[in-house]
């Protein structure tokens, strides 16, 4: 009886050894890709740039040394579609590329403009290795290759720096938008919403950015930073939103976390700065004599952060006028953003989707020509309420006392 059990045991042990090589890859047999850049060369073929992390140099920094050689290395490959890029790149890299940690995909401006991004993302979406939360960025004014190559000082892995910069700009200033693969594809598919992808560029002379000396100087010659948001229509990049236009769009999309709004006071430009702590935007379409009208109400709460005008903040009556001025300022930004989107004939706010949700009958009729006909003529009424909660650890600005002197 026990001989049978012995044989069974041997067979079991045997299988574990033979199956040794299926999906098992040791950590040192894989090349961890942290970012993928996609460009177009003159011949119309895709050029892929892969940013691979050298783990030794990153972790090494803890013991002080190891700061001299770069923590990332770049490999380039050309091919007709995304999968071909991957297989062609394997000729250059000793290990097989592992994409689960590729948290960043950079699309070149030329690819986005001419070829459009519809055909790019299918490989990414289908592959089990690619995470749906990978961030998407457009390289503005530079090639995707330049952005992926840049070495950065503070964050060792430059992909990390790009992602963190976009997140912090969205949070602090509301000038760019963190979009991941899933959202982009959802917007591409939906007829009622067009995708928005943030732009990123490298300032300073771009050819020095891939040298390590670049990170050794205190003010880096080539410095990547976030700049504006790209507007898409039918998968093609048609326009860039900058400064207040970007902010206005983010207000409508209810993605503002805390941003600064400054207003002029008694002729003095940008005299009072107000930091938004919390805000809630809700957009509700209502049918008005047959045609939909978007009612957008915004409520924001925050503190006065800077006052360089003699206003007595201690009295609440004063702050009511400031609140009105702030509300007017935000309302103007939002209306400009909506007008610009209507001029671009691209519904980046998802009004179409909202109408689809609330008035399906109307939507069925106008779905096809939504972007080109009905959206540009859509009426939108914006109503903003701003509340000032606190004024920091000072009440009246000292300007008020200097008033006695000069002024």
């Amino acid at each position: 009886m026990n001989r049978k059990r012995l044989v069974l045991l041997l067979m079991l042990m045997g299988t574990t050894f033979t199956s040794g090589c299926w999906d098992k890859t040791e950590l040192n047999e894989m090349a961890i890709v942290s970012a993928v850049g996609i460009d177009k060369n003159e011949a119309g073929r895709l050029v892929g740039t892969f940013q691979i992390i050298n783990p030794v140099n990153v972790a090494g920094s803890l013991q002080g040394g190891g700061g001299t050689n770069p923590s990332i290395s770049i490999y380039r490959a050309t091919g007709d579609n995304v999968l071909e890029l991957d297989s062609n790149a394997s000729t250059k890299i000793s290990r097989d590329m592992y994409f689960a940690h590729a948290n960043l995909v950079v699309i070149g401006e030329d690819v986005a403009k001419e070829m459009g991004i519809n055909s790019i993302f299918d490989a990414f979406e289908r592959s089990p290795e690619f995470r749906a939360t990978t961030r998407i960025v457009i390289a503005r004014g530079v090639k995707a290759k330049d952005l992926v190559e840049t070495l950065t000082a503070i964050d060792k892995v430059s992909a990390e720096k790009v992602i963190k910069t976009i997140e912090s700009t969205e949070k602090q200033q509301g000038g760019s938008i963190t979009i991941n693969l899933q959202e982009v594809i959802k917007n591409l598919v939906s007829s009622g919403k067009e995708p928005l992808i943030s732009g990123f560029t490298v300032r300073g002379n771009t050819n020095k950015e891939s040298k390590i000396e670049n990170t050794q100087t205190s003010n880096m010659a080539a410095n990547p930073n976030a700049v504006g948001i790209g507007v898409f229509k039918d998968g093609k990049l048609i326009d860039w939103l900058d400064g207040n236009q970007a902010k206005g769009t983010m207000w409508v999309l209810d993605r503002i976390v805390n941003t600064n709004v400054n207003i002029d006071w008694e002729g003095k430009k940008d005299a009072v700065t107000y930091q938004v702590l919390r805000q809630k935007t809700n957009v509700k379409p209502k049918m008005k004599n047959g045609k939909p009208k978007m009612y957008i109400t915004v409520r924001a709460e925050g503190d006065i952060r800077e006052v360089n005008a003699p206003i007595d903040l201690a009295s609440p009556h004063g702050s009511i006028d400031i609140e009105k001025k702030l509300a007017k300022d935000i309302k103007k930004d939002m209306e400009d953003a909506i007008k610009l989107a209507q001029k671009n004939k691209s519904d980046i706010f998802g009004f179409g989707e909202l109408i689809h949700e609330t008035h399906p009958a109307y939507w069925k009729k106008h779905e096809k020509d939504w972007d080109d006909v009905t959206f540009p003529k859509l009426e939108a009424e914006v109503q903003v309420e701003v509340f000032i909660r606190r004024t920091g650890i000072r009440n009246k600005p000292y300007l008020l006392d200097i008033k006695k002197g000069d002024q």
Binding site: Q279, R299, F387
Partner: protein
């Protein structure tokens, strides 16, 4: 139920009290009403959840005590 009554009886006059103070401060009526309730309009998710939890505890504190009071006489003859 008595506690529920007491809570309402305390809450309503106090809210009117604070509205009165706003009016005494020189705001007109609708402005002070807006000022009284606008802190509740802008709420984080966490704030909302906390508010609901406290409400549930409040209701629970009414009912629970009542049940305990009921079965206490039954429990020990």
């Amino acid at each position: 139920m008595k506690f529920f009554g007491i809570t309402i009886l305390l809450l309503v006059p106090l809210v009117l009290f604070s509205l009165g103070m706003d009016i005494l401060l020189g705001f007109d009526l609708d402005n002070s009403v807006k000022h009284a309730f606008n802190p509740f309009l802008v709420k984080d998710r966490a704030e909302l959840i906390l508010f609901l939890i406290l409400l549930v505890i409040l209701v629970f504190s009414f009912i629970y005590r009542k049940k305990k009071k009921d079965n206490k006489p039954k429990g020990q003859q």
